[in-house]
């Protein structure tokens, strides 16, 4: 024990700078978080790492990344201070016992990483008016997650590298590996909604342990590195060789034979076409299949995970699209419409285009049943909301920001509510209506759902989760007559709400045959390119509004609606692209993959009769990203009108001309490539 302390003290003396920086960052973070609670409009720091870079106060959000980075760096430095790689280290010929050395390193990490995090968490909990001792289990869970997800892999990498530079290069290789893996997974759509656990998780946890033990006990660096390479190979192998159909069948069991399914599928109107990527594949035809689902319990929530479409032609043709991910589309009560997209062989498409075919659609989804419904009137000031934490109804700063909805801001200990559904009759809202807004009808309803894992705590460095309760989806909401941008009504003190806790009934799959389906005609169906709306890395949506119809003025003169309803407006942080830039995202049930073109199911594009010029613009990824925006639509329209499609060269020519002419797309290309952005346009509620 003496030697453990002795080595520990040596490391503490050696790494005092790293320790000091880490403490300073923790202290700054600890000071910043309560500030962000007091100023919810700032929202300085979130629990989640993802999207941390996109915030009003960049430096404050940076702390969410910097603090774990400082911890990781400290771990790397302490492990490498007695490097396990090489044959020149003085300590390998000194009477170090590897167990004592390892114990000293663990003690160091415990004291200078885990303990500060624990103290920080206790401080934040008490600052948020929670009793820290009630959440010890969650706090230890957070420590465990941080150790397994961040510290342990870093320690393993430090154990097989001699210097920080070597480690950074190794991390670069791992990043490239992850990029390659995710590219590979795009060819395995089922892998995104099917879990091959527990094997990968066990391997990912066991390998760092094995690497560290092997290095400390034997210093067999080559073997340890092989273990890491083996893990990387095994994970790829598992994802490639996993029997996804069996796994899906096990994870999403179908109803028992003879059991009445509580769901009923129906064909939506106007199926459309889409294409994968910017260059059309002549060998495939992309189909957008709008569907409606009705359920026996209208208050249930469905999270659509995956779909599988099988076709049966009149001449015995059979084709199976296989399982395709649906990116967890949420269908809240009142939402029934969604679409399934698949790509089929062009030759089969051409054979079946004129014949009615039978579709067999299988959906894999999670099914939630509403429960514990109760009325709740929002009090003044701060109030305790069971299962949500401490909340208050307060205006979001700045209050004049168009499009924001008054809502409830909450602080929850350890994690957000496991499942909390909020239903608001908009007419009952006590928030003052914006000037000029007509009174909302009695049946207009807004809903918001928050869910999180049931684990004792979420992964992160703060045990206090800040989130907003607000209606995110609306039904029976009329449009503004003038199409102006105005906030909807929201939640203010005195507003009566209906709260409930939908509980998960289970994962299931459901198959239904749909006869008499006609494939959409590519000559009649006009691709437009509304993109899938949800992109990772952006902050939570503060409100959800509808985009008003945009008219194509330079074409036939016939007003053509670009966006119909239900699109989500996401505000970009000021300073990123300037105020007023917003992202228009289609609601989940209307999302189609990037590059998709949808006709009346989503959009009736402009320049329908322009000879196909717009197609080339629509097939361009950037155009996909921004389609629906006023300037882009106009630009695309102009381009389409001026550059009609010429056989054999239309697409590329039109695209090049369009960008070269300095269209808004061309000018905004760098930004737009990152996300769908458009300038503030007419937005109104329906």
């Amino acid at each position: 024990m003496n030697l453990i302390i002795h080595i520990f003290l040596k490391d503490a003396r050696h790494l005092w700078r790293e320790i000091a920086v880490s403490f300073a960052l923790v202290a700054t973070y600890g000071g910043n978080v309560p500030y962000s609670w007091a100023h919810p409009g700032v929202r300085g720091v979130e629990l989640s790492f993802a999207g941390a870079f996109f915030g009003a106060q960049f430096w404050a959000r940076l702390l969410v990344v910097l603090v774990p980075l400082a911890w990781a760096f400290t771990v790397i430095r302490v492990i490498q201070s007695e490097s396990l790689v090489g044959d020149r280290q003085f300590w390998v010929t000194r009477p170090y016992d590897w167990r004592q050395l390892l114990a000293a390193k663990l003690l160091f990490i415990l004291v200078f990483v885990n303990l500060p995090m624990f103290v920080l968490d206790l401080f934040l909990l008490s600052k948020a008016d929670f009793t820290p001792l009630r959440y010890l289990a969650g706090l230890f869970w957070m420590q465990l997650l941080m150790t397994i997800i961040l510290l342990l892999p870093m320690a393993a990498l430090a154990a097989v590298t001699a210097t920080v530079v070597q480690l950074l290069l190794t991390l670069l290789v791992i990043v490239l590996y992850l990029v390659g893996s995710s590219a590979l997974e795009q060819h395995l759509p089922a892998s995104s909604f099917t879990s091959t656990d527990p094997l990968p998780t066990i391997l990912m946890i066991a390998t760092p342990f094995a690497v560290i033990a092997l290095q400390y006990a034997r210093r067999r660096t080559a073997w340890a590195r092989l273990l890491i390479l083996g893990l990387m190979g095994a994970l790829v192998l598992i994802s490639v060789a996993a029997p996804y159909r069996t796994l899906i069948h096990r994870q999403y069991p179908p109803p028992k034979i003879g059991e009445q399914s509580p769901f009923q599928l129906g064909l939506g109107q106007n199926p459309g076409l889409w294409q994968r990527g910017s260059i059309p594949d002549p060998k495939e035809a992309g189909i957008v299949l709008p569907l409606t689902i009705s359920r026996a319990d209208p208050d249930s929530i469905l999270i659509m995970k995956g779909s599988r479409v099988e076709l049966d032609g009149p001449n015995g043709e059979h084709w199976d699209a296989g399982w395709i991910s649906m990116n967890s589309i949420n269908l809240l009560p009142g939402e029934n419409l969604f679409s399934v997209n698949f790509a089929m062989p062009r030759s089969l498409y051409d054979r079946l285009i004129d014949s009615p075919i039978e579709l067999r659609v299988t959906l894999a989804f999670a099914y939630f049943q509403d429960a514990n419904r109760r009325k709740f009137v929002v009090p003044n000031g701060t109030f305790s909301l069971p299962e949500a934490g401490l909340c208050s109804a307060m205006p979001i700063e700045p209050p004049t920001q168009p499009g924001f909805t008054p809502m409830i801001s909450c602080l929850a200990p350890m994690h957000r509510p496991t499942s909390l559904l909020l239903t608001l009759k908009l007419a009952e809202s006590t928030c003052p209506l914006p000037q000029g807004q007509p009174a909302l009808p009695l049946d207009s309803v807004g809903r918001g759902w928050i869910e999180s894992s049931e684990s004792p705590a979420e992964f992160g460095i703060s045990p206090v989760s800040q989130f907003e309760l607000a209606p995110f989806t609306f039904s029976n909401v009329p449009s503004y007559p003038d199409g102006a941008v105005r906030p909807l009504t929201g939640i203010c003190p005195g507003t009566p709400l209906t709260l409930s806790n939908p509980h998960m009934v289970g994962d299931t799959q459901f198959t239904q045959a749909l006869a008499g389906f006609h494939l959409p005609d590519s000559q009649k169906s006009i691709p437009t390119g509304l993109s899938s709306g949800t992109r990772p890395g952006f902050g939570e949506r503060p409100s959800r509004l509808s985009c008003a119809p945009i008219q194509c003025e330079s074409c036939s003169g016939r007003p053509v609606p670009i966006l119909k309803k239900g699109n989500t407006i996401r505000f970009w942080p000021r300073g990123e692209l300037g105020p007023g830039y917003r992202e228009c995202v289609r609601p989940r049930h209307r999302q189609v993959p990037r590059g998709a073109s949808v006709d009346r199911a989503g959009t009736a594009p402009p320049c329908v009769r322009s000879g196909g010029g717009y197609r080339s613009a629509a097939s361009f990824p950037i155009a996909d990203a921004i389609s629906g925006s006023r300037p882009a639509a106009r630009s695309a329209c102009r381009s389409g009108c001026r550059v009609p499609r010429r056989p054999g060269s239309g697409r590329r020519d039109a695209r090049t001309a369009w960008v070269r002419k300095g269209s808004p797309v061309g000018r905004l290309r760098p930004q737009i490539a990152r996300a769908a952005v458009y300038e503030t346009g007419p937005v109104r509620a329906e």
């Binding site: 002795h6 044959d87 020149r88 280290q89 003085f90 390998v92 009477p95």
Partner: protein, 330 residues
């Protein structure tokens, strides 16, 4: 296995395609000051690193203080001191802190000896190791390896790049403690080694060419100068123990690597007949080393020729004492 601080048996080490050690058989007697010499790339450092369990052997085994070297770790290292020319020390530490840090690891650490070594080596306790000159750093490393009365001291090229004064100080420091320890030292500095080594082993191409007491080695090598009445022709066949045979006018010179007055004279008479004068001159270790190195190089060149038999093969099983390699070949 008795009375040997270090013993290796057919120790081999392969680095990918490079065979660094080939069936190394080496015995370092207890209490000896054993100098392991050899040209660059002979395998000295590799052998020492295997002995210290820094590397694992590809084949064969080694015992250090009666313990299998592959098990040498932790407490077992508390009676061994190891200093290497390119060892990475915690250079952020001050010299005094370095000693203080090492102290608890060694139950036999002698504070008085530490102070004595600090005084003897004139070590600045308040300076960081990174700020020390190479010589001072080497002295600090040696002092930190002597202060606990190790039974075995292993030094890998400790004198490389040091000025003569520092070398003297290091050697003196070593000699002062030579009685209580076995010392294994690999070095190129043959003049220094000759002044204090009791045994010497010559390593070449990963094999021991000879390993014996220094006095017996020096007795065994002689520069021989033969003077004739008329210039003689170089003999077509000469004993393999004669190295660097050369003729100059009426004088023939060579190095006898297995000198025995009677035997050598008989060989001279049988090869040359009568000579006017015969002179035997004792050789320094450096001269012996150079002669051996040159002979080794010639053997390697001969071995690389397709028609000749590999020297390595003929001498592969050479024992670790005497001129076994040469004898095997002859």
């Amino acid at each position: 296995m008795t009375n040997a601080a270090i013993r290796t048996e057919n120790l081999s080490k392969q680095f990918k395609k490079v065979e660094a050690l080939r069936n190394l058989n080496l015995t370092v007697p207890d209490g000896a000051v054993y100098a392991l010499v050899g040209p660059n790339g002979a395998g000295k450092t590799t052998a020492i690193k295997i002995l210290m369990n820094i590397f694992g052997a590809t084949f064969g085994r080694a015992e250090v203080l009666g313990i299998d070297s592959s098990r040498l770790r932790g407490r077992l290292l508390s009676s061994i001191g190891y200093v290497s020319e390119n060892q990475e020390v915690p250079d952020w530490m001050r010299v005094g802190v370095f000693f203080a840090y090492l102290r608890p690891f060694y139950p036999t650490w002698d504070r008085d000896l530490e102070k004595e070594l600090v005084r003897q080596f004139d070590l600045p306790l308040d300076r960081k190791l990174r700020d020390l000159s190479r010589g001072m750093r080497m002295k600090a490393a040696l002092a930190s390896s002597l202060a606990y009365h190790p039974k075995l001291i292993v030094l890998d090229e400790p004198f490389t790049g040091l000025d003569p004064l520092v070398r003297d100080e290091l050697i003196q420091g070593l000699l002062d403690r030579a009685e209580e320890s076995t010392i294994l030292i690999s070095s190129h500095d043959l003049a220094e080694v000759e002044t204090f080594a009791s045994h010497v082993g010559y390593l070449e191409n990963g094999q021991v060419r000879f390993s014996e007491e220094l006095t017996s080695l020096v007795d065994r090598f002689r520069e021989v100068e033969l003077t004739f009445e008329t210039p003689p022709a170089l003999p077509k066949a000469a004993p393999e123990t004669w190295l660097e045979l050369s003729a100059s006018a009426a004088v023939i010179r060579f190095i006898e690597s297995r000198f025995d007055p009677g035997q050598t004279n008989r060989h001279i008479r049988s090869v040359f007949g009568e000579t006017r004068d015969v002179t035997f001159t004792p050789m320094s270790l450096r001269s012996i080393f150079l002669a051996m190195a040159k002979a080794g190089r010639e053997r390697a060149e001969t071995a690389s020729e397709p028609s000749t038999t590999s020297v390595a093969k003929t001498s592969g099983g050479a024992e670790s004492s005497g001129m076994d390699g040469e004898e095997a070949r002859s």
